[in-house]
């Protein structure tokens, strides 16, 4: 592993370890006597420290060491869980988070006033123990360790282990230990029974060695000792064999700033993939290779059909690699919810459900902000103060529930609270003040809820930092629409409110109806399609000489000519093949006049930023209008346009 790779691994694992620390601290706060949680916290802090030591981030080591000290005292019950302990730990955690970000962006130092405050906070808990930063001078370290039994099964080997150690500094000697190898009759040849005694000179010190070793060795099978140089002169380690170790390119761990600078922008986006999914994929690729080889001998329909099936399976499985459980995203809200409730003097019981529901990683990432907005709304607007709740006969702690489930090829996410509910009269009053409702109009309950998603809409009487500026729900709605999702509201005064979000499972594939418009093929996402109408000459009416409407069984629906809004050349709209595709958004139903319907397909979405040039070349004078979501590779290999029905609606009918 190169130094850059070690730094990248540090950042990736640090994110996960800090997230785990946060969850466990939250758990510890609610169940103070939780030895398992304390053990997990200690191990996470210990691993963080080791990882940081391995790449020479000494200030990061110092703070994690201080946190580890506190957790060690909790573990040994020489300190008990209390609010100051929890607060100091959270403070340190926040500083570690920002420090990790600073290191990622190449900051030369992470020592800030917040850092010092967090360090002192932890030190104060340990009776003022002063925590010195580890020296970056090279030190001699002796380690004796025994690998985990699954060492070989994990694809590891003593040679690669030694190569990785060589990255820490100069390996002076290494000796493989055989004293735990059983006789042949008891030997499980695939399990590892070996140990290693190693001496090296490293600036990472014993913590760096621990950090490296813990990846392959259990703590109880690891002994690490820093040696004074003079001790080495007098007492050589027993039965140490000088050996050749694979190239030791770096004499010592690099200086933190240099490492950080190199690491800046080097961390790539990663997805953890279930090994079972990869195995399935490997099997499928194997079958595909066999089928392709059959093609050279046999081009019968049977082989072609087999290839088609394999191609579809392959696509499904590759798409599946992007699917991740939403639980990790959900858990990220626990801490901000706790902090917000504390800030507002409210009590909340935040629960989640359906965390195993899988969603495209891109959808999860893009969903976090909208969900955060809505959850903040629940706490700040939805939930009453504890005293008010008690007076109403409700428990002092308000309940906020976040759930996910798969329903009919979509993911349904619900955020519900048991708070005061939405005062529709107040929303309507505000909507009238803002001119969103025409005089004399009596909107339905659903329409009233819709006004809350209008830009700048707020019923809050006082503007606070948390909410009340009307920046929130309109942003939420736009973000969800960009994900081809929708949101609706259900509320009962005094009982609570539920926000219901529907999302596609993935953004990478769209099920669509392909239609021909002028020279182009356009894919209309199927979730937006309501029905297909064959227009007759007298079913299309023009009002005020401009707006066209289609009479659908007595209901007049606005109609747009797709070539007009997409600025495509006119086709033959009067041919017998012309059709009106009725589509629907949350706001309205309307018709799209197209030249003809080609059929249904699954289109793989290609982002428009990369394919725009291609589209521009393909369609002469094509100007990217709102209403185009991306490009798709069609079955015949040509490039088609994927329609964004919400964007098209805004273009054709205005923003509201």
């Amino acid at each position: 592993m190169t130094t850059e790779a070690l730094v990248e691994t540090f950042h990736r694992e640090t994110d996960e370890l800090l997230a785990a620390l946060e969850q466990d601290l939250l758990e510890l706060e609610t169940t103070s006597d939780a030895p398992d949680t304390i053990d997990r916290l200690f191990r996470a802090a210990h691993t963080l420290k080791g990882n940081a030591g391995m790449v020479g981030f000494s200030d990061f080591v110092r703070l994690t060491h201080a946190l580890e000290n506190v957790l060690d005292r909790l573990r040994s019950r020489t300190m008990s869980v209390s609010e100051p302990v929890i607060e100091a730990s959270f403070e340190a955690l926040d500083v570690l988070k920002s420090s990790a970000q600073a290191l990622l962006s190449g900051a030369p130092s992470i020592v800030t006033p917040e850092y010092e405050r967090a360090l002192q906070g932890l030190a104060a808990l340990c009776e003022g123990e002063v925590l010195e930063a580890p020296s970056l001078e090279a030190r001699l370290v002796d380690a004796e360790l025994y690998f985990r039994p699954e060492f070989f099964e994990n694809g590891e080997d003593v040679t690669t282990f030694l190569e990785e150690f060589a990255l820490l500094g100069d390996v002076i000697s290494a000796e493989t230990l055989f004293d735990r190898v059983p006789p042949l009759a008891d030997l499980a040849p695939e399990a590892c029974h070996l140990g290693l005694r190693i001496r090296l000179r490293t600036t990472s010190g014993s913590m760096g060695v621990v950090g490296m070793a813990v990846l392959s060795v259990d703590e109880e099978n690891l002994r690490v000792e820093e040696l004074a140089e003079e001790k080495v002169e007098v007492v050589p380690p027993p039965s140490t064999t000088p050996v050749e170790v694979a190239p030791a390119p770096t004499p010592a761990a690099p200086a933190p700033a240099t490492t950080a600078a190199r690491a800046a922008h080097a961390v790539t986006e990663n997805i953890r993939v279930d090994a079972v999914k990869l195995d399935g994929l490997m099997d499928l690729v194997g079958e595909l290779v066999v089928a392709i080889s059959q093609l050279s001998e046999d081009r019968t329909q049977h082989v072609v059909e087999r290839l088609e099936t394999l191609g579809r399976d392959l696509q499904t499985r590759v798409m599946g690699l992007r699917m991740l459980p939403v639980a990790e995203g959900f858990e990220r809200f626990r801490r901000p919810m706790r902090d917000l409730a504390k800030e507002l003097g409210k009590q909340i019981e935040f629960t989640t459900e359906g965390g195993e529901t899988q969603l495209d990683k891109k959808v999860i990432d893009a969903l976090l902000d909208p969900l955060k907005h809505m959850l903040r709304n629940c706490v700040s607007h939805g939930l009453e103060e504890p005293a008010e709740r008690l007076a109403l006969g409700k428990p002092a702690a308000g309940r906020v529930h976040l759930s996910a489930a798969q329903r009919e090829g979509q993911v349904l996410i619900e955020i519900s609270d048991d708070g005061r509910g939405i005062d529709t009269a107040r929303v309507l009053e505000k909507a009238r003040e803002r001119g969103l409702v025409a005089d004399g109009q009596t909107p339905s309950e659903r329409q009233i809820y819709e006004y809350m998603f209008a830009p700048g809409f707020s019923t809050a009487r006082e503007v606070s930092e948390i909410s009340g500026r009307g920046v929130g729900l309109d942003v939420v709605k736009r973000a969800l629409q960009a994900l081809r999702g929708s949101v609706e509201v259900d509320s009962k005064v005094g009982k609570g409110t539920t926000f219901r979000i529907r999302l596609p499972l993935t953004l990478a594939i769209v099920e669509g109806m392909n239609v021909r418009v002028g020279p182009e093929t356009v894919t209309i996402p199927l979730p937006n399609v309501v029905e297909l109408i064959e227009p007759s000459a007298d079913s299309i009416r023009t009002l005020e000489g401009v707006h066209e409407f289609l009479d659908v069984r007595g209901e007049l629906l606005p109609m747009v000519r797709l070539n007009d809004v997409l600025a495509l050349p006119k086709g033959d709209e009067n041919s017998a093949e012309a059709r009106v595709v009725i589509v629907e958004t949350e706001r309205r139903k309307f018709g799209l006049l197209v030249d003809r319907v080609v059929g249904m397909s699954q289109a793989v979405v290609k982002p428009l930023d990369r394919s725009y040039e291609l589209i521009a070349r393909m369609a002469h004078n094509f100007v990217k209008p709102r209403g185009v979501n991306g490009a798709a590779i069609l079955g015949n290999g040509n490039v088609g346009i994927i329609l964004d029905v919400h964007g098209l609606e805004s273009t054709a009918f205005g923003a509201t």
């Binding site: 055989f178 190898v181 040849p189 070996l194 050749e244």
Partner: protein
């Protein structure tokens, strides 16, 4: 692919002592080590070895305490030297 032959009181291993071949070698050695006159191990025909192969040799030596590795091939010697396992050959630093 691993082969085992018994020449006098020496077990002669040949082929590769790495990867999945270690399982086969384990089975072969297990069958032979019951023989009371199997005293030493000749590894001069072993073309490749990995850490699991080295562990297997250590296990054999443990089983037949006092037995020796009588000969090794160059690849085996290079590998066990690399991982600091020369003590298996009775070689002192």
């Amino acid at each position: 692919m691993i082969g085992l032959e018994k020449l006098g009181n020496t077990l002669v291993l040949a082929g590769t002592l790495s990867g999945a071949d270690v399982l086969e070698a384990h089975a072969l050695l297990l069958a032979e080590c019951g023989s009371p006159d199997a005293a030493s191990l000749d590894l001069s025909g072993v073309e490749a070895i990995d850490t699991r192969g080295v562990q297997l040799i250590a296990s054999f030596l443990r089983t037949r305490e006092g037995n020796l590795v009588s000969a090794v091939s160059a690849p085996v010697e290079a590998f066990i030297s690399r991982i600091g396992a020369l003590s298996l050959l009775g070689t002192q630093p």
